[in-house]
Symmetry: D2
């Protein structure tokens, strides 16, 4: 795909155009460690289903996955338990409420990509204790991203564990609804550890390219089943960009998931995964420059899944 | 597409498998005229972007578009006013509430595919009076479906106008929020007329094939802009199947819109449009056999947009 | 009561103290006719259960009852149908939403003192047509207020009928829930007529004194049953001051009902009815000076029903 | 009051009539210890403002205060902090949601008589640690009830602390909204200890008689200020009987607070406090026989505060 005529030129043009959003939005500050970044840090990484790579910007930046880890938790919960069990404990529908709201929990979280839903899927990841479970998550993330360099960002983890009252509230509420048998602390611990996984842009893009390629990596190994790929991508399409998901799908037209660290992972089935990194966020918690760059790329290199090529 | 090896066989296999849902669900009865159909009526029609046609079942059945007309109202509102005006008056996000609920209206309807949103888009269709506006709608539908035989089902219209208290409530509420200047009665009148457009399965599938083909018909004429196509299809993906939209996208994996008359229009970008007709509905108002058949077809002939071919 | 030592002095002191709220709040303007008043108009009228009267201010001002008429509609609905029928069609509980919101309607209005509830009770008032029903209402109001001078404010009525889209929306919604068989227009017509009844302060206070006296007027005639008196007063206590009802009961401590024309009717069981008139309203729609004056009177002449005398 | 003609006869008649509700409802079972009672246990105790006592039934039964302790927490929070501080952290309005719902918390709990509100008032009770705070609560309860025999029901406390996930969720949520600085565990600990205070019917009725008497006990000592008495009683009137509060006030007509242990404390200002004990509850969590007995007593000995005597 990247060897198509003029495509690099078009990508560079889109980056250029996205510069007018520099300085817009605010870096997340609800945990001190998150605020501790260069607000103008910027990177773009594209990995195609064929394994081609386009990279630009601060490629050595290590950011925490934050909410992007929700797609990993969902994938592993599905691998460990099957679709039927998972969706008996978490819903499939978008919600108009904020990602950390308690309202969308009735008897279960409304979908796996809000906090309550990702806490639910974290509770479904198997392993005898939190260390074993997290080792399984790390090992899976390393395999998907083809990197042994994936980090656990202890400072982020520690900072979040100390300030995460609202997630603790959500977890106790889920516990009171009998969503899981494990202890609240171990479920929350794994959830926050998953949020604290540290990656570089191209590592995340490579991880995403497996989903873009139907679950098979560039070496031809099947890492995720087709059924799980379509569940994860459809949920990203419906609910991946918080309460702006409908508008994002309308403007950009492919599944994506954002994290408050400033990364967005977009996935164009059969084509590529795209990672943008720019830590200034809008009010919904999505990276301002990131979402505009994805919009520009979608238009300029025709990535919208609702338009035939 | 239809000349691929074994594809007809696979389609027939899916129809066969869908037979086990015969008799499930209830025919809509909230207006007397809707209940006046053969509950076991059934049809399938597929029209590809290349103009190939596969048809099966009661192909002469004429059903009312009902909520499927919401995509026509949205398309024409966008053609007449542009994206900016339309989405200042209606939102872009799914809602967990019923399609005829008043709750998702705050200052405007949450999206164009619930009743309140489609009443809003109907109010935006231009023309000096209701007759002129509806003539424009009919003429557009005829052009899209390549048929002069499209009908206005007066009995359905008349029956709905007499019993549509909840839609009248919604329209007055939108009026009180200053969403439109026209009179409530003329806005409601056009909305109900649009719902009462009568089509045969293949006429609707041909209409859908224009959206599948990026807005261009089989003769190469552009009938809808690419921008409007991607808006309409993304909204169908997010909100087209009522409060089951997330799950439908997860299971079936392409945009669709259902109507309480029992039709569902599915659109596979770059491939085809598929119409199922089977009037028994589930509690959300979606055709039971129809949605299962779309699920089977998606799996058996690989139509999921989140999996590369 | 008014012959108690110093009581007139205390009342005059409270009026004086209430002067510091002059100029606070805004006159209702959602219908042009309502805005057509002297914003600094002011009156106080107290009628005791024994028939004593204290009056002060613009005693000849005629204001429309507006939402205060909701207690008349409730009373007549109960007289005409009994408690069981009425509360099968309207609830008994307060709601946190605005008085003209559609949210508190599920299958019925949450209580009889919000618009949806009062439209419901208006639908329950018997009479062969709207004229007969309204004549019954006027005749009942005249009897309660011991005045033949009660007016129908046609300009207010006419102005409201033209602009009442939100109430028309509510009425159609109730109709769609089968709350009444009558036509929407005749139900709404009576509701708006009731809102448009014009009274002077002491006429309203005398009307209220019948409720303060357990349903019996000063001549010893029973006009309302004890059962209906306690239903009406308890609902005024729970829901009479819109979304400020809890706080009002906490501060002032007796049942009250306000109207957007600027009047408030307070009722102290066994003691008196108090009418304040001052058309500048707070954001909830309650008269600013009126509610403060009632608070001062409650403290200074000990009217709180939760404190023994 | 109790020496009025026939009054004892009327009370006994009401008890007799209430017998037809024996066996209706279910004993609370959400904590094992609560289920551990005689479901047919029954007591009535009336203490007048003059100190007269009428007692009947299982007078030695010791029940936990449960939600009735919410009025003690509110009283002490007001004594320790004043009205302004307390109502900056908790609202004053009823809510249509369940007492343990998370929905009525927006930035603060909607009122002090739902769980979230009582956790808030518990957080406002002063003292250097939980032991000191609870000792202050116990000492205040002993003074109000004129009994040194008030118990701390350790088994109830222990059982609740182990199973109180939903209250822990609420407390963390309030913490995340910065409602209090203390730790979640110490706030929750005091809240559950307060719920676990054990009393006999007449001890609770005597406690209530202080509120009935404007804050002064039978010895003429002022234990609670008039301002706090009217705040507590008005909140009991608006919100004391969960989502049935409006209906209860309509039927019975005086402030009351129920607890899931099966007790209800009713307060008739200037007259008496009434305690019913009968552990079978309706779906709202109110004692079935208890609420019916209060209704009968209100009618038969004329206790409705909205009717003059």
């Amino acid at each position: 795909m990247l060897d198509q005529e003029n495509i690099i030129e078009k990508i560079e043009g889109a980056i250029k155009k996205s510069e007018r959003h520099i300085g817009e939005g605010e870096v997340a500050s609800y945990i001190p460690e998150l605020a501790n970044v260069d607000p103008e840090g910027f990177a773009l990484s594209i990995v195609t289903t064929g394994g081609e790579v386009y990279e630009y910007g601060d490629l050595d930046t290590v950011f925490s996955m934050q909410s992007i880890s929700k797609i990993i938790s969902l994938t592993m919960a599905l691998m460990d338990n099957g679709k039927k069990v998972v969706f008996s404990k978490v819903g499939t529908e978008p919600t108009p409420y904020k990602f950390n709201s308690l309202i969308p929990i009735d008897d279960r979280a409304s979908n796996p990509l809000i906090n309550a839903g990702a806490i639910t899927t974290a509770s479904l990841i198997k392993g005898e204790d939190v260390d074993v479970r997290f080792e399984r998550v790390m090992s899976f993330v390393k395999k998907l991203s083809e990197s042994d360099d994936i980090k656990f960002l202890y400072k982020i983890y520690n900072s979040e564990m100390k300030t995460t009252d609202v997630n603790r509230a959500i977890t106790y509420y889920l516990k009171s609804k009998n969503i899981f048998d494990k202890s609240v602390e171990e479920v929350l611990d794994l959830y926050i550890r998953n949020c604290s996984i540290g990656m570089k842009p191209t590592e995340l893009a490579r991880l995403g390219s497996v989903f873009a390629n139907g679950g098979v990596n560039t070496k031809g190994e099947r890492l995720v089943s087709e059924e799980i790929v379509r569940i994860v991508l459809s949920q990203m399409a419906s609910c991946g960009m918080y309460e702006e998901s409908g508008r994002f799908l309308m403007e950009v037209g492919f599944p994506a998931k954002s994290g408050v660290s400033g990364a967005i992972l977009g996935i164009v089935p059969g084509r590529c995964a795209i990672v943008t990194y720019s830590p200034r966020l809008d009010e919904s918690g999505n990276s301002v420059r990131g979402k505009h760059l994805l919009d520009l790329l979608s238009d300029d290199i025709r990535l919208n899944i609702f338009l035939h090529e």
